[in-house]
Amino acid sequence: MVLTSLAILVPLLTAVVLAATTSLRRRRAADVVALAAAATVVGLCVALVVRASDKPVVAWLGGWHPRNGVALGIDLYADQLGAGLAAFAGVLAVAGLLVAWHQVDVAGHLFHALVLVVLAGMVGFCLAGDLFTAFVFFELMGVSAYALAGFRVQERAPLEGALNFAVTNSVGSLLLLVGIALLYGRTGALNLAQIGEALAHHRPDALVAVAFALVACGFFVKAAIVPFHFWLADAYAVAPTSICLIFAGALSELGLYGIARVYWTVFSGPLEPHAETVRDVLLVLGLATALIGGAMCAAQRHLKRMVAFATVGHMGILLCGVALLDGAALAGVAVFVVGDGLVKAGMFVAVGGLEHRRGSVDEHELYGRGRDLHALGVLFCVCGLALAAMPPFGPFVGRAMIEDAATHEGLGWVSPVLVVASALIGGAVLRVVRTVFLGRGPKPPRSRVTGASESGDEPIERGRAPLAGVVASVMLVALGLLWGLVPGLIDAVTGAAAHFVDRSAYAAAVLHDTAPRPPGTPGEGLTTAAWLYGAASAALAVVIACMPTVPVGALRDLHSGRVGDYVAWLAAGTALVAGVFALTLP
């Protein structure tokens, strides 16, 4: 009870205090207080992960315990995966605040307050056991994220990015809300476990199918799944580095967490007989996202936009993992999220460092100008290999677990596609190493790039070596590396995921306070095939790095920067998913 509530209340209260003292202008004090609050959240969430190893921690706010299976109030539910993701969000917030340490002018303490609110929103969303509460915290992190994305309103690109971000994501949360309303109309409940119980023993009708589609599409927008993804590159490429790493490492991932949580607590009962249809739809979207994100990533020369599209591609790989609707695959997703989030955060910081040293984030302009920046070059190289899922980095272990699970389900053909997606992403970064840091090989052809010179960051105080940035970046990438080497990782996460996907255990723990923890299912070691796929994607990435660029043709034109287009695509995607589910599930 204490841990779960404090993990949300501490950052909120700190944010309020910081906002009330903006006029004091004691910048360092704000830095320290915000860091302390974020670190406290990490500590609380880690404690929750430990506590949840016996049985999930269920806290009924206001002391309103359910009566006869009817939830009167709201519960916070912390299992190992949920609390773990919250802790990871806290780690990234700490990293983001550290990176922001050297940036001047952050509008009083509002920047810190907003970062803490995003964090509180993410933690609240991870722990929410109630659908509407999840929506509220989803919206809370959304609203603070829009403000942070547009924090540098003096420039054109951040402002547009924030507008696109805010409009598309608002429509997304409306989809979610309509889905919640439909579920409430059917079950008269908002508690996840209670809705799940109410729906469990009925055949799904059009209402349930459409409600699932709307909830999923609402989360797809946040998770940047094709064709809901257009806003992401616009927003992430222009936000300050310190914000990017939180967004790219945790915010998008929360969208997928939402889908996984809601599917396994609410819909896995009624949709059980149709699991294959659900799997196919999600898998198609995931593969499309992985490939399109990867191709667009490789086609970029604006480095921050490149990392932003890398996020899209990775969200696709993650959705493939979720789509398998299987505990082992979900464990892979969890491992991938952490490993990839750390590496990508390090990558964003490294790009920030390069920009600081050379005043640009445009690959073309930077051609050969990084020859003397050895440390950064090595860092980029390691990031590229890690993003290509080379063994034994964290992202590799996660992807390998997803691939093994896919093979296990007879979907072996998924693995090569994921290899291509990873290789495109890693190859793009390795190409930057070749052009910028080595100055070798063909120049990337001029492509139409706009906003290339703008990256959303404050000019860092000149004369100060960005040592802190490099150190932060090295630390993050090293953590991402070590993550894959943690002994017993696969077993622990597989056990946690097995619990996550057990709907009746969830309902029992929430509604009846009985949670016999299922015996831990030991994870299986990675197969040889997975190692080969890892090596293959690293090799393919090197090949791609030697190519001038990856042709994407008309795909690039679809990313028009116009919010009207984006919302039209959003509507089309929703219509498609809802239509398919409404026709096939009932």
Binding site: L12, A20, S23, L114, A568
Partner: protein, 246 residues
Amino acid sequence: MSRRVRYALALVALAALGATLVAAVVDLEPFGHYPGPYGDVLAKVVPGERHTGQLVAAVTFDYRGFDTLGEELILFTAACGCVALLRVRRRERGDEAGAPARPVPSLAARALGGALVGPVLVLSAYVVIHGHLTPGGGFSGGVIGAGALLLAYAAGQSVRLHRVGSIELLEVTEAIGAGGFVLVALGGLIAVGATLQNFLPLGTSGMLLSAGTIPIGNVAVGIEVAGAGALIIAEFLEQALLEERE
């Protein structure tokens, strides 16, 4: 994508989406047949357990108080966001003290504004503190309060206490409101061990001082809404005024 293509795509998509949504809503219980059980259970237990007949206030501030906490923070964040986004101009000009000096409004305007502040504030306070007895409460009362604060702001534009401008006061007001609600939540945790638990005596139903923390939550929300609302509007006003003077 040309406008034409976009319209075509959107029309087809919306038609299909409309069809699926209609297919979904026909499966709902018909209008006028709320199936329960959530609302019905609450209607049965609230008057006895919380000594108030205002079910909506009981749900908003007690049973589902955590949603309201999140909502307060959304409002707080949006106000912070508006300040951060709109205040750039002042930052750009290096105007440390905040708002620039404005033309002093006429005495009559100030007197009228000042005279109205009192009654409007009283009305706002009335709506807020009766939130657990009658419709209204923190949200509606808070918006009325925002009106009062704006009047005071307009009337007192020339008054400046040291470097603290009226905007900063609004900022502090809204932070007190948002912080107050968080403290109510923490109070439950400290007093009785459950976050947001109603830890005050429940009193007699129908009395002003009853229903425990529900009226306190109402007041916190009222302050928050008044502060945030006035802050947002004042920031927009500032923008309009700034422009006028250039």
